[in-house]
Every structure is written in C-alpha cells, then in structure tokens.
Point group: D5
Chain length 149, copies 10
C-alpha cells in the first residue's frame, strides 16, 4: 500500500511548514474563510478539514498529498491531560479549578439542571487593550442542554 501519515504527524508538519512559509494562522484562516480558532484546531488535528479547505492549505504550505489526506480524516480527539502542564494552557485549567464549581452553580441557577454543550459550541480569542497591560479574552459559547429524559 502507498504510505500514509497520521493526523498528529500532519499537525507537526503543518506547524513547521507554516513557519517556513512565513504565514500567520490568521492568514490561513482567512484563506479558507473560517474562524481562526476553528482553523488552528482543525489543522492541529482536532476536526476533519473538508476537502476543498484541506487542498487550499496544502497549496499554501506545499504539503504532500498524504498530509492533505490526513487533514481530512475523522479525528480521535486529544486527551485532556496531554498539554496540561504547558503554562499557557495550564492557566485555563487552573481557572476552572478555582471557578468551575461557581460556574456550575450559576448555570444551574440560571438554566436549571444541565450543561453547556462542547459540541454545539464556538470559541473566540481576542486581545483587549488595557492601560494596565493588554488582556487575553477567551469566550466559551455553547448551547445549553438540559437533562431531559
């Protein structure tokens, strides 16, 4: 059989190829007309990339056909603890440790017993200028699902 690459090998290759090509993630997202957070996570292997978008990215980054094929494959999504210790990611988990039970109480008070969907879901990352130092503002936005038998 012809050789193939896994989705995590593809993610490694995309990261190096993007740097060598001198392209930003924002530029890649714009090229395929998708939001940046979706684009980055999809190219890192967390979503299947539709054929047209995968080929567009393949052209821009000069990827082999096997890499473009891998980008389209259905992922088994990444484990929760995999990058937990990286400080940039850890701070979000720490915030959930401190504020998670409060978020839970407020969701139940406002909506009743249920959850915020992580599937019917989108996320945004913004920079907000602030005289005391600019701020990272990340918004989690998911449909409420109530426990419904």
């Amino acid at each position: 059989m012809e050789p193939f690459v896994t989705k995590s090998e593809a993610a490694q290759i995309v990261k190096v190829a993007r740097t060598r090509a001198g392209l930003t993630w924002a530029a890649l997202a714009e090229a395929i007309d998708r939001p940046a957070p979706w684009t980055v996570s999809a190219l890192l292997g967390q979503h299947p990339v539709p054929k047209a978008e995968a080929e567009k990215v393949g052209d821009l980054l000069g990827l082999d056909a096997e890499v473009v094929e891998a980008l389209q494959a259905q992922p088994t999504r990444a484990g929760i603890g995999d990058d937990l210790d990286d400080p940039t990611i850890y701070r979000f988990h720490e915030a959930l440790a401190v504020y998670g039970p409060a978020i839970k109480e407020l969701i139940h008070e406002e909506f009743g017993d249920g959850i915020m969907s992580a599937i019917n879901f989108k996320l945004d990352v913004q920079r907000r200028p602030d005289p005391d130092g600019d701020r990272v503002v990340v918004t989690f936005d998911g449909k409420f699902l109530d426990y419904r038998w």
Copy 2:
C-alpha cells in the same frame, strides 16, 4: 480551644443554608455588592471573604460565628481534578482539550511568548437568548503576561 470549622465544611453549610433561606446566589452577590462569579467561588472556599462581607452573608443565612470565621480564612485552593467528572464542569475541560492548543497558538501569534494570567483575572457567566436554544456564554478575561527575564 473553641471549636472551628474548615473552609470546605463552611462551603457545605453555605450551600444548604442558602437553599433553606430561599436566596439565590445572585441575591447574595447583590447584598455584598460583588460580581456573582466571585461571590459564589469565594463562598465555596476559593477566596478569602473580607470581614464585612462575611458577616453580611452570615446574617442573611444565619451562619454560626465559626462559619463566618472560616469564610475569611486564606484558602488552599481546590485541586484541578476534584470535580472534573461532573458533566457540567467536564465540558469546559473537554473544550480545553480540543481547543487548548489552538488558544495557545493564537495567544502566541497575537501577544508573543507568554500566558493569560489566572490571578489578575475575572470571569463572567451569561445567558444569551437564541432561537435554536439559549446559550451559555462564559468569558475568561486575564492580563497577558509575557515571559520576561
């Protein structure tokens, strides 16, 4: 020595007393003039509650003096895995598993090498009406800190 209660015992007592008093978290937050997410996490033991606010809550909920004292104590903050499996909290950790590496890439692209602070930080929980089902919108808002030797 007089008896005392721990912060986690105090959190348990506050939850039961709030239900018995028929008060919402929002009402408690308003009574002490603090944002709701801060108020809930502080009363659940994640922040020291200043004396005036602790006493105000004590009056509203009919708490014993030892409970009011415990609310004011400096916490050792909760572990990341403690409530991880609860579905309402888990979905946030799952979203970080799927999107965390993308958030990291976008922070580095926009700000350079560094993190969002989880200390100089605030958080908001809102309901956004939507014809396809209302949405839970949670905003993480922390100061950017760059790796600076």
Copy 3:
C-alpha cells in the same frame, strides 16, 4: 444551624430503608410515576428529585426531613472510576473498550462528525427470555449532536 445530610449519605439511607420496607425499585418508580432507571439513579444521588416525588418517597420509606431535603439538592455527579471494578458494572466498560471505537466509526458513518448526547438521553434495562439463558438488554438512547461551530 440545623443538621443536614449529603446526597451520598441520603443514597446509603435510601438503600437500607428500601430493603427494610420490603419495597422494590420498580414499586418506588411506579409510586412516583417515573421510569425505573431514572428513579433509581435519582434516589442514588445522580439527579435532583422534584419536591413532590421526594416527599412521596420519604413517606413510603419513612425518611427524615433532612434526607428528603438532600434528595432534592442539585448533585455533583459521580466519577467514572468510582464503581468501575464491580463486575456487574465493569462488563459495560469492558464492552465499550472492545466496541467503543466501532461505535464511533458507525456513528460517524451514519451521522457525520458528532456525538450521542448523554444529557438529552434515556436508558432502558430489560430482561429478554432466551432458551439458552435469559439476556440483559440495555438500551442507550441519546440525541445526535453534530460538531457545529
């Protein structure tokens, strides 16, 4: 403050009281007009029991007011590993280990990228007579949710 009981203490008490009262789970479910699987998991602390149903169960089992109060409280739901080793429960996790990746492939083939909801969800446990030995038939029935940005 008046004493209170936790949801897991309440679950222990319900199990003993049910045995002493000589009542089946099926009878309790019928008494509150709910499906048996929902009734059992709710009385074991996995769902908040509405006031009327909690009081009905309290009457049938002779529960103290604090236990009836605990049944109504919002749960933090049980951890995945808690009873994993019990053989009756383990076989289900083992079946998921063997067939989980196949279930995933078939869901993606039939529905596309997404999940079966565990929130908009119901479950049934039945006995099916079989000449080679009766069979346990457990049905997981949840709404499909597609990854939708």
Copy 4:
C-alpha cells in the same frame, strides 16, 4: 524471517485503505456477511477475523498478505482508558458513571446476583428519526450470568 505487521498497525492500514477505496463500513460488513459492529471492531483489531473473511477484505481493500495475516491473529484486547477522552466515546462512559449503579440495582432486582456477559454478547447501533433531532440508539445485549459456585 519475513516481515510482519501488528494488529494495531493493521487497523491503521485498514482505516486508510477503506477511505482510499471509497467503501463504507456497512459495505465491508455486507461483503463478508457479518453485522456491522462486529465487522468494524474485528477489522480494528478486537476480534480474530476468520481466514476467508480476512482474505475477502484484503481483496476489497488491496491489503498486503502480512496485513491479512495480522487480521486473523488472536488479539490482546484494547485497554479501557485508551480512547476514553474522545467525546464520541466519552459520552458512553459518562452515561455509565451516572446510570451504572442504577443498572446494577435493576439487574439485581430482576435477575438476582450476577452480571450481563460481555463475551456472550452482541451490540447494535441504530439511527432513530425524531422530529426534535435524530437519535443514536445503542443496544447492549448479553446473557445473564448468575454467581454460581
């Protein structure tokens, strides 16, 4: 000695080859006249595939002889935690966390002390149309085994 491939390498190869061949799992199952869930899990390495069926699949997917050989080998079956975090699989484990103790109570009430076999066992995955959104219906069907000394 001639080269050989492991069962997990064979599973990877089958997944890529199936996509390249443009065949569904359902079509593969039909070709070897086996139920789809059995077929998928067997081709992913969880069951030994009989010689005739392995060769049939090898013909359809253009597999090397070593891959066809690997499909026939006796597996050491997959660990429970291996894909646990993938959302599509996780929801089933979460449902067991919430409802597992209730399933256990109902099995004991109906059958006495014992288990549902995961060996004398079959599983079905169906789509059920529903105006509120189609549903994933997964049925676990195993022989009851009582603790019998």
Copy 5:
C-alpha cells in the same frame, strides 16, 4: 431511621468477633454447610449471605441485628488494587504478571477465543504435604465462555 452498618464495617466486626469467639473459618463454614472459600469471602462482604446463614453466623458470633442485616445486602465488590501490596495476596498477582500471557495462549489453543468465567466459578485452597516444605495449592475453576455474537 434506625442505625445501620455498611458491609465493610460488618466485615471488620466479623473478623474481631471470630477471633474473640475462638472459632476458625473452617468451623463457621461447616456450621452453615458451605465451602470455606465462599464462606470467608461472603462474610468479608463479597457475596450476599442468605438470611438463614447470616442469622446462624450471627448467633455463633454474637452479632447485632444490623450486622446480620448488612451481611445479607447485595455488595458492590472490592476493587482490584485494594489489598494488592499485601505480600500474601501480591504473590498471586505477580504470578499472573509472569504467567498470565501464557495462560491466555493456552486457553485460546485449547478452547478458542474466549475466557474463563469469574462468575460461574469456584475456587479451592488446599495444603499439600511435601518433604521440601508443604505447598499452597489454589485452584481456579470457571466455565469457559467463548466470544459468541
């Protein structure tokens, strides 16, 4: 409600009461006309003890009614790692680490793909005199179950 004891508290009480009564496990097993290994594991909380046998043991050991009641309750069975480190138990797990894969190969060679049931199962512990030092002989005896769809 009247007080109650858990099955693990009952097991602790049985162990102390047996020592104080000066009775061997063998004598208890004989008194209830059951094999010794079944008797000991049941009294330690791994099996529900039928009412007559539980009361007989209660009489012999002078147990309170709540303990006799606990012996009859359906157990959630003990976790695999709980006593793993105790040297007397560890040696059996070590033997499985060394010989487990060989046992697996021989079962598959003799019976085909399947398992030894741990439910339709019995176990014996014997002493075999030997001039080089007497031997502990433990027999695992379970029905073969083949993977049968």
Copy 6:
C-alpha cells in the same frame, strides 16, 4: 557491533513464526520436553531459555541467531498492569479481587503467617469436560514460606 533483538521483540517474532509454522504451543513444549505453561511463558520472555532448548525452538521455527540469543537472556519480568485489561487475563485478577482476602485468611488459618511462593512455584492449565459447558481449571502451586526472622 552486530545487531541484536530484545526479549520483547523476540516474543513478537516467536508468536508470528509459530503461527506461520502451523505448530501448537503444546508441540513446542513437547519438542523441548518441558511443561506447556513454562514453555509458553519462557518463549514470551518471562524466563531465560537454556541454550539447547532455545536452539531447538530456533530450528523448529526458523528463527535468526539473534532471536535465539535473546531467548536465552535473563529477563526483567513483565509489569502487573501490562495486559490487565484483556478480558481473558482480567477475569483472573477480578477473581483475586473478590477472593484474594479469603485466600489470605485461609492460608493464615492453615499455615500461619506467611505466603505462597511465586518463585518455587508451578502452574497448570487444564480443560475439564462438563455437561453444562467445559471448564478452565488453573492450578497455582507454590511452596509455603512463613515469616521467619
């Protein structure tokens, strides 16, 4: 230096070579005049195989010299958790979870404080015909060692 293979690579090679040669484990054991359980575990890397026996097996299976060399090397023996989840092996660990404390009590009652050796030890795997389904009978037979200062 000349190339070499590890004991776990050798075990993989032996398994494939045995299948290709169409030889049973029993036939290999007979060829080297050793009990089957010892032979299988030794060839899977759990015991050093004496030179004559290793070469005999090498001839029968057509193994390279480096594989024959690896079979003779002193092993670092396999970890307890390595194959724990495979159902055929798991049932033995589960039986120890349920009956281990009872085995321990009966050993102490019969022999005093001590253990069954897992070193001065042998093991047998047999099939016992039974009208209700044939049975797997595995015997652990080890010298008793008492705690002796």
Copy 7:
C-alpha cells in the same frame, strides 16, 4: 459487641504511649527479648505480636485491652507508596532506583535466576562511627530462592 481498635489505630496509640512513658524502642525490644527492627515494625502493625509479648508491651505502656488485642491480630501489610515521600524513607527507595538493576545483575551472576526472599528475611540497622560523619548501615539479609518449577 464490645468496641475494638484497628492495627493502625493501635500503632498510633503505641507511638504516643511510648513517648509519654519515656521508653526507647530499644528498651521495648529488650523487654520482650526480640531484635529491635522486628519489634518496632511489629508494634507499628506489620507483624502479629504473640500474646505474651503483646501483654508485656501493654503493661509497660499502659495500653487498653483492645489495643493489646489489636497487636496480636494478623496484619494486612502496608502499601509500598504509603510513606514513600518521607525523606528518611525515600532515600532507600532512591538508592534502589539507582542501584536496583545492578543488585539484580549481581544476584543473577552469583546465584542464577531467582530472588532474595523478603519473607525468610531479617534486617539490621546500625551506627558506624566515621571521622567524616557517622554512618547509617542497614543490612538486608534474605534467603536466596531460585525459580524452580
């Protein structure tokens, strides 16, 4: 039933009672005519203490009858990781991490394939004067057991 104490409660009580009585472990060991390491580990719950010795210690330390009874009970021995982090104990595990594989090689070179028994075993702790600082000298002394089928 009369109250009882567990072996670990007994160990706690012995430690406090010994300090209050102003007796050294050496004096206790001498009083019951046993080596000090055996005496200490037995009183801390790792060995059953014979009746005469338990009562002698009970007299010297003023222990209640239930504590004396607990000292005589058969232990389930302590887990390997329980005190691992205490620096005084950790250094021994660290030395095994660094030198364990070398000890293994030297035992196999000198004795063949087998182990040092931890059951037919004794241990000594000594102080050796040294001008560069006195030294702790701990000797592990166990019977060699060869793998013997």
Copy 8:
C-alpha cells in the same frame, strides 16, 4: 552532526556485548579496579564513567566510539517505578514497605532527626553460605545527615 547514542541505548548494548564476550560483571569491575556494584550501575547508565575506565571497557567489549562517549555522559538517573515489578527488585521495595517505618524510627532514636544519605553512599551485595539455603546479603551504607538549618 555525527551520530550518537543515548545512555540507555548504551546500557542495552553493554549487556548484549558482555554476554557475547563471555565476561562476568566481576571481571569487568576488576579490569577497571572498581567495586562491582558501582561498576554495574555505572555501565547501566546510573553514573558517569571516567574516560579511562570507559575506554578500558570499550576495548574489552568491542564497543563503538559513540557508546564509549555515552558511558561518560552525565546521567539523568532512573525513575523509582521503572523496574519495580521485576520480582528480584520488587522484594527490596516490599521489604521497605514492611520495615521502612521501623528503620525510620530506629534512625531517629539513634541519630536524631535526619536521613541516611543516598549520595555519600555505598552498597555491597554478598552471598552468605547457610545450611538452610545460601543468603543474599545487601548492605546500604550512607552518611547520616541531620536536619540542620
């Protein structure tokens, strides 16, 4: 850059080369005039080997220059759990589980609060003839370090 080998690859190569050369560890230790336990652990990667000794061993075993280079490199020392399950090594950890708290008490009684150094430390492995079976005698000998602020 020229190729290089890691210390753990070097350890693997040394073990095979030593067997092929038919040399004992004792002979290697004598050749470089170092104690056997130090020599074995150093060649297995736990200590940097000085240049002269590394080259001497390289000559005796016919090692490549990159292997000799790797032997001299500063190690990151091995993890405590890496070989824990191997029975020959496990018995030492088990002995520490049983006797570790007693060793700690005796060190504190004799020396005060402090530890045995695992750095200013040596270890010896001896065979002691015994009519009941020869014994493995391993001596840990480290400088006492007291907690000194």
Copy 9:
C-alpha cells in the same frame, strides 16, 4: 489512655489559634527566636519543635497540652503532591519544570556530579521593592553533596 492529637490536627489548630490571637507568623518566630520559614514549617508539622519552643508557642496561642505534645513529635514529612495545585505553591513546581534541567546542568558544570542537600539546607523568603511591582525572592541554600562511593 489519655487522648492525643496528630501533627496534622495540631497544624490545623495552630492556624486557627494564630488568627484568633491576632499574631503574625513573624511574631511567633521572633518569640521563639527562630527564622520565620523554619518556624512556620515546624508549626505546620514538618519539623519536631523542641520542648521549650513548643511550650512558648502553646502559651502564646492558648494551646492544649496534647497539641503542645504533638508539636514536639517526630514528623513523617508531607507528600510532594499534597498541595501541588494551590496556585501559590504550584508556581514554584512549574518553575522547576521549566528550569529544573537547567539547574541540574549548572550544578554539574560548577560542582561535578552530585546534588544540593535538602537536609543541610535553609530557605529564605523576602520582599524586594521594585517600581514595576514588588517581587517575591525565595532562596534555596543547601550544602553540595557529591556522589562519593
């Protein structure tokens, strides 16, 4: 026997009593004429407190005799992971994750193969004013110990 308290109970009591007495840790340290970091860790149970100092603290905080006794007892020191998740403590472990391998390289370059002692060791915590925000300066100061056979 008279009641007693454990060292960790004593630590809890000291923390509450100190707050109620309105005394700083610095004041307690000055009162017993010891450095503040030593004083705090000793009162939290990490060092035995000499009798005079324990009694002095007991007088200042109004501690019961059993608490004063507990402060003097030899500790089993705290586990590494116990408070790891608390953000104030976590940042130090994170700094070690990022810089630990660099610290190791620099120690080896400057001193050779060995370690910084954590026993012959002291630690200081200072505030350093800084126009960009005051800084926490923590100094680890331990004797170098070289690997010396």
Copy 10:
C-alpha cells in the same frame, strides 16, 4: 517537505554537540550575552531562542540548519513530573514539599492573597564557598501578583 527536527531532538543534539566541542554552558551563555540559566533552559527547549542567538550557537556547535530552526520554535513547555526522580532535581521538589506551605503562609502574610509569578521571573544558580562544604544557592525571583478581580 524538507526534514525537520523537534525541540526535544534539538536539545539532545545540543547536549552531545556541546560536549564534543568542549564548551561550557557558561561559555555559550557568554557568547550570546544572556544569563546562564536562561541560556541552558532555552537550549534545552524551554524558551524560543531568537534567530541571531540560535545561529550564533549553531555556528559554535556546528549544528544543522534544522536544529537551529527548532531552537527558534515556540515550545510546549515540559511536564512537571518528567525528571522528578533524578536526585539533583528531586531535592528541590522535596524542599517544596517540606517548606511549600510555609512559603505560602509567608507570602500571604507579607503581600496578601496572591502568588509569585513564574513568567515575570528569573532564577540564579550560584556557588557559595563554605568551610563545612560549599553550598548551592538557587534564587527564585518573581513579581508578586495579587488576586485582583
């Protein structure tokens, strides 16, 4: 695509190349005019190395272009437990286990509720001569961040 190397492969290569070049870490740090601890951790993959410095190091050590490229890439920083067991690194974690809660108390007493930043942070490693043995002095120096909503 052209080949590439990961940051951890680059770190391995740098370590070997530095030894072969006979250069100290101090010399490398001086060559790029950066503090030694920063330089070492950056070259070991914990910080992105700016282009000019990466190329300078590449020239000094004769690194391939792909290695120089890898040094400049943004890292995912190392996990906390990765090298924990190495004695030179472990002693720092052990000191945090013993003194961490005291450091926390003193930071809160001096600064209020907050943390030492591990991002706006620098670290120094020094040798301090001492007649009783020279000392390793490591200084953690980070900006105080208070919990500020």
